[in-house]
Symmetry: C2
DNA sequence: CCGACCAATGGAACCGGTTCCATTTGCATC
DNA sequence: GATGCAAATGGAACCGGTTCCATTGGTCGG
């Protein structure tokens, strides 16, 4: 029942047919043309074409101790934020002859550890990771093997890896000033659980700080919802609506995923945006344009974050130690109907 | 400037420290425990743990002629349809010790060919591909190397690869009957260019067929729009609106991407759904719930398509020749406000 | 015409595993 | 105690590339 392996064409076949040694063919493959006579080079070229030969990257990697593989571990592949970053990373990756090994952890630390181990077994040349932020044993291990690592979006204070993200504090501050200008009586912050996720914590902290600085009554209105549990968001939402009955109000969503769930919940409650409730959120998913008169969002330069992460990896592979600890791009507040025409 | 390679721990190191031969360690790694004395096994186990040894998959693959890598080539990674399939594929993939090598072609046939060549160089053990449908030279080549291939969503008639998708004809027919029941004077079909993409052609054909069978005046209302060109969709939309002035009308969107662009365009024109125009589309993106009173959609079992594709690959790797040419899942019409409460 | 030098090429070891085959060990049987 | 056989283990070749070092052949200056 074994698959009958047809023998693939190897460097030896090419050498034999071209009448040269493996060494010379290898030199050709490596692009060391200056060491090869032009007519020999032509002969090898023709032979490779006629045999449709394709060098085995594993064999090369074994000797060179590289794999041409970059690991990409993401917490949620169905989040548009994630795919936008992947696009950026992938483009740079392939322009440099690497391939992306993608793993989706579903925010599960155990899965994350398993994946990193697998990637290590593949001898990845670098890793871009959007970590769950919890239980980072395997991640720590990579430093020991001297594998370049770049964290994306979420920092891990105990690890000395470069991190790329946005200026969360500043972005939240800008957005909050916009909300405060509109004189809402109450402003709530809806987020997924803060535990371990630096981005969420930073945003929540900035939210609170701005409100305190303005002596606003809403400093306590931070709600952590568990999206995997049916009804969790709706319960918190109803609670907030009850608390703020008769008052003008707005909700700040920590990211695009929460934002969408809020829009759906409000629709179920037959509440209108922004008349009954204003809404604003991080990330700028395409559908934000399509809901009502548009949802106000905070746009991150996701594609650029992806390219920057990969470029940082490439630098490290080349041996250029970069010292930047945290690279933050600026985010952009896009004001739409969900926070204005009330 | 070279990176100082610190020597990684190899099977030899383990053998040495455990006082056995490489062969025995290899047997341990392969799980052939019945050939190993219990105390030897324990010793190897401990040694591996203490050295934090991780076998090199490339070295193994070189000898075994496998890579534990499955290629996944997608036309558009930012399409939620794509990521849903990736989730399914990835889950099965990893349960079986494989990893996914993801490539995004942006619907560019040239990129597709380049990627397939790269994947071939990595000696992928299988390939799942959502092909551009054009210029499939490299794809054809894979058959020659006996690499398992499964097409997803889009068929290629000239290639004898298994394909997994949905019952497009039936799904469109169901949806059209729903629209016809509502007695729209005109129904348009908006699609991305049909060229080479079987799915789009099948859906357009079914659309036309149903209308003809019902003697409906709209058989010609098929619009191909180029989303990469600014204004193309808006132009076609305005044309259709002009053509159908004073009539009741609906638009059928070929997929979720076109659907979203239509919603945005309608919002820009200040037209209301479904009062001015009813709307329905393939795919069931999450935001469809959030727009207006919900958008009527045709839901595909995307996750299942992904798992089925990967399971088919695994079967082929095991050498079980499967004879199914086209596996089609059934899609589900979800009726919401965008085609009803007018 | 000879030695020096360079350009072009080849031989063989090596990367880290797997696997075929041979060898050693342990133990029961006669 | 010798014999036989199975269980346990080891040696060495091999997978398909790369790379160090040696070799060959030709050109050039003296």
């Amino acid at each position: 029942m074994e698959k009958p392996q047809l023998p693939r064409v190897t460097i030896k076949d090419v050498a034999l047919k071209a009448g040269v040694s493996k060494t010379t063919v290898s030199r050709y493959l490596g692009g060391n043309y200056k060491e090869i006579a032009p007519k020999t080079r032509k002969r090898i070229e023709d032979t490779i074409a006629s045999l449709n030969y394709r060098p085995n990257i594993m064999a090369r990697g074994l000797k060179r101790n590289t794999s041409n593989l970059i690991g990409m571990v993401v917490a949620d592949i169905s989040n548009p934020y994630t795919t936008a970053i992947m696009r950026g990373a992938e483009d740079i990756c392939n322009q440099n002859g690497y391939n992306l090994l993608v793993c989706n952890t579903d925010n599960d630390p155990e899965k994350e550890n398993d994946y990193i181990s697998m990637l290590q077994a593949h001898r990845i040349d670098g890793l871009i990771i959007n970590t769950t932020g919890r239980n980072n044993e395997a991640l720590k291990d990579l430093a020991h093997d001297d594998i370049p690592v770049v964290l994306v979006d979420r920092k891990v204070p105990s690890l000395e890896y470069d991190t790329i993200g946005v200026e969360n504090h500043r972005a939240v501050t800008d957005a909050m000033h916009h909300l405060i200008e509109q004189n809402f009586d109450r402003i709530a912050f809806f987020t997924e659980p803060l535990a371990g996720v630096s981005t969420r914590k930073e945003r929540a902290a900035a939210f609170e700080q701005v409100l305190r600085a303005n002596g606003h009554p809403s400093c306590q209105d931070i709600y952590e919802v568990d999206l995997s549990s049916e009804g969790s968001l709706m319960d918190k939402l109803l609670f907030f609506l009850e608390e703020s009955k008769g008052q003008t109000k707005a909700i700040f969503a920590v990211n695009g995923v929460v934002l969408l769930q809020l829009v759906i919940a409000l629709q179920q409650l037959n509440l209108s945006i922004p008349k009954d409730l204003a809404l604003l959120g991080f990330d700028n998913p395409e559908w934000a344009l399509a809901v009502g008169s548009g949802i106000t969002t905070i746009e991150q330069p996701t594609y650029e974050i992806g390219t920057a992460a990969m470029e940082s990896i490439l630098q490290k592979i080349k041996g250029n130690k970069t010292f930047s600890q945290y690279t933050s791009f600026s985010a952009r507040l896009i004001i739409r109907g969900s926070t204005t025409n009330n």
